[in-house]
């Protein structure tokens, strides 16, 4: 039995309503733990005064330089003693989850046992960083909890100016739209950068996110310094039986309004099946015995919309891989930036392809480490130095897929033009 709970009239109001309540969970923990009794008092004080009262500090584990988020209370009495003394320290340990966030219950139960013993018993699945957030631990217990977690086979996530915990979608494990082995890419890249995750020494954070297709379930383009987005180069695959089934259920109005009319590049047309073009870049799916939906795959940008609507009838092609975008980040400091394309297509089929992806990531990190200013994200660095300097620095060729449109102003020195054209022509010739 724990000590007497503090009155929490404001938090109590978060126990009403149908959605699962985190306050009810905290109260369950508070029955046995003075730690959580005081945590509830601490939180109620924030609700009353509308302010946060945790300050950072330095807490870590042996061998690592980051991964623990230290928190010390700032609610103190006139003598400088913590008002909520049993919750004076409330550190979080970040643990990297398995790719795709799959678990067996044994693993989750082990986490629970360790965290009940050494921590508050509160676990967030998952933080916005993608980590398992073991929330609430004293300085003394951090190492004990960590040793047991590490013995389980889990490793610590990133914090501070480091390579951060990566995230990958459910992907090939369950999704027919998956264009590569997201989990393999995720694991290989994280293993490459373990030192940079655990010992922060970069200009600022660097995040990898892996989405299996353009639906980008991991928000990689907006949030990752390097986003790996699955795509394919050949034609959209079609299944006539599923196409007919879809059409019988949804009809012409939905086909026109929801599929054809919403294609961003007007790549879709209804055709009499006998009139469907025979070119190599055309694919078509039957709607009924006489009509088909024709797709001009040269016009298609792999946005995923028609695949999302006509699931299974249309699907990703066979020549799969990924588009790589670099430089996504949120507002600080120059305003939010989206990642932009730096590799229009990298094939991801064989093991060697994944090695190449890892090498590319290493080149990006090396360039970032050498050239970014302190507290500057990759997207901000590219904005400062220009995409061309970045591409030349990491050894990537320019490509018209990297721009929305070519430059709109004449403020550029072009006296290297002939050499550039000669280089491009030589490359074309060599490739031919």
């Amino acid at each position: 039995m724990a000590k007497q709970p503090h009155a929490t009239p404001m938090l109590d109001q978060l126990e009403t309503g149908p959605w699962p309540s985190f306050v009810t969970g905290l109260k369950r923990l508070a029955k046995d733990k003075d730690y959580v009794v005081d945590l509830l008092g601490h939180l109620e004080h924030s609700y009353k005064t509308r302010k946060g009262y945790w300050k950072g500090g330095t807490v870590g584990v042996f061998g690592y330089g980051g991964g623990v988020i230290p928190r010390f209370t700032e609610i103190k009495d006139e003598k400088g003693e913590p008002t909520f003394k049993d919750a004076a320290e409330f550190h979080t340990i970040r643990i990297m989850p398995p790719p795709g966030m799959h678990y067996d219950t044994d693993t989750l139960r082990k986490f629970c046992d360790i965290w009940e013993k050494h921590g508050s018993g509160l676990i967030a699945l998952h933080g916005q960083s993608g980590d398992i957030m073991l929330q609430g631990c004293t300085t003394e217990n951090v190492q004990k909890a960590w040793d047991e977690i590490n013995e389980m086979g889990f490793d610590m996530g990133g914090a501070g100016p480091a390579v951060r915990t990566a995230m990958s979608c459910v992907g090939a494990a369950r999704c027919e739209q998956s264009c590569y082995d997201e989990a393999q890419a995720h694991q290989k890249i994280v293993n490459q950068f373990l030192d940079d995750i655990h010992r922060p020494a970069l200009p600022y954070k660097f995040k990898f996110k892996f989405s299996g297709c353009g639906n980008d379930c991991m928000n990689a383009i907006q949030r990752a310094d390097m986003a790996v987005i699955g795509t394919w180069r050949d034609n959209i695959k079609t299944d006539d039986a599923l196409g007919k089934k879809w059409f019988a259920k949804h009809g012409m109005n939905e086909l026109v309004n929801d599929v054809i009319g919403m294609c961003p590049t007007r790549a879709l047309q209804i055709k009499d099946t006998k009139d469907v073009r025979k070119d190599a870049h055309i694919s078509a799916v039957a709607l009924n015995d006489t009509q088909s939906l024709e797709i001009d795959n040269k016009d298609c940008v792999r946005c995923m919309h028609c695949l999302n609507v006509m699931t299974g009838a249309l699907n990703v092609g066979n020549d799969k891989g990924a588009t790589i975008l670099v430089g996504g980040h949120s507002h600080l400091k120059i305003g939010a930036t989206m990642g932009t394309v730096v590799v229009p297509f990298i094939s991801l089929k064989k093991d060697e392809d994944y090695e190449q992806l890892v090498e590319l990531a290493q080149t990006m990190i090396d360039f970032f480490a050498e050239n970014a200013l302190e507290h500057e994200r990759t997207g901000e660095m590219i904005e400062r130095i220009g995409l061309v300097n970045f591409l030349e620095g990491v050894g990537l060729d320019v490509d018209a897929n990297m721009v929305t449109n070519p430059r709109m102003n004449p403020y550029v020195r072009t006296d290297g033009w002939d050499e550039e054209v000669a280089k491009i022509n030589a490359k074309k010739k060599a490739a031919a």
Binding site: L43, H102, T105, D155, E176, R223, M304, H331, A336
Partner: protein
Amino acid sequence: MAQPQMRKPVEYFLDNKKYLHPKFAANYGNWKTHDRPRPGVLHHVSNTGDQVWSVRAGTQRQMDVHTIRLLCDIADKFAEGRVRFTIRSNIEYILSEESKVAPLIAELEKNGFPVGGTGNSVSMVAHTQGWLHCDIPGTDASGVVKSMMDALYDEFKNEEMPNRVRLSTSCCEINCGGQADIAVIIQHTKPPKINHDLVANVCERPAVVARCPVAAIRPALVNGKPSLEVDEKKCICCGACYPPCPPMQINDPEHSKLAIWVGGKNSNARSKPTFHKMVASGLPNNAPRWPEVNEVVKRILMAYKADARPWERMADWIDRIGWPRFFEKTDLPFTKYMIDDWRGSRYNLNASAHVRF
């Protein structure tokens, strides 16, 4: 005295396939199609004919061990002991037999976990730590989220929206909650209040100066002590100076407000990904239930639900109807603060005679 023996960490990133449900492992990369038999349930079919049913339920994200153990008990009883989590903290149970879907749903609902969050529903809010754990929070994410999800409970459990709706909340302008169809984000409205007694001892001053997006901070001697001062005319109240220099307090119980942003979209489907845009601000930080925020979020959602066409996300809908009609339909005031003046802002202005009446 001998140092205590410390354990050296084992550095590895675990086996990427170890925790997969057996059906996921067997059909890895070999799925054919899927459908949704009902809200909260996904049914996947592989090229080998294998089938799995995934049942999705909402959680409170910040979970006590008793809740996690309860979720595990349910997985052991119905779902072969495997689960996964979505990016929005929903739990998914994987079933090889359709006959177990209905009993599992009943068990989840009985224990207070709503089944839903798939397809055209309003899924759980992506959110941050807030007052519970963050060192710089303007509000409490978990409380705002609980209040919002209570209000949107039926929208989570049903698929009645034109397309999927993704929400986020963030406790400061850094926006850790991320881009969303509707995002609730703290907006500070006053410059930081500086405790000059502490700055010299706590803050690395050049680093703080460098952190300011508008170069409004400069070193100064205040009351004989080295400190920092803020040009309050230049200050945009972003709070970027507060993390590296806690004596520059930006959070204010009265003046830190909540703003609402709409039209963020991470998917490439149809249009390119978009960032969300500010459509309301000045809402009070009214713990513990934030009714003013809830009211505006619900109003925007209902306008979208009533007017958007099938498959239009919030951003697609606004793109069609235009911003003037968005503000009309949601009855929100369009103020001068919504006209962007940050770098690149002229691209956000209407350089055409395209005007809606």
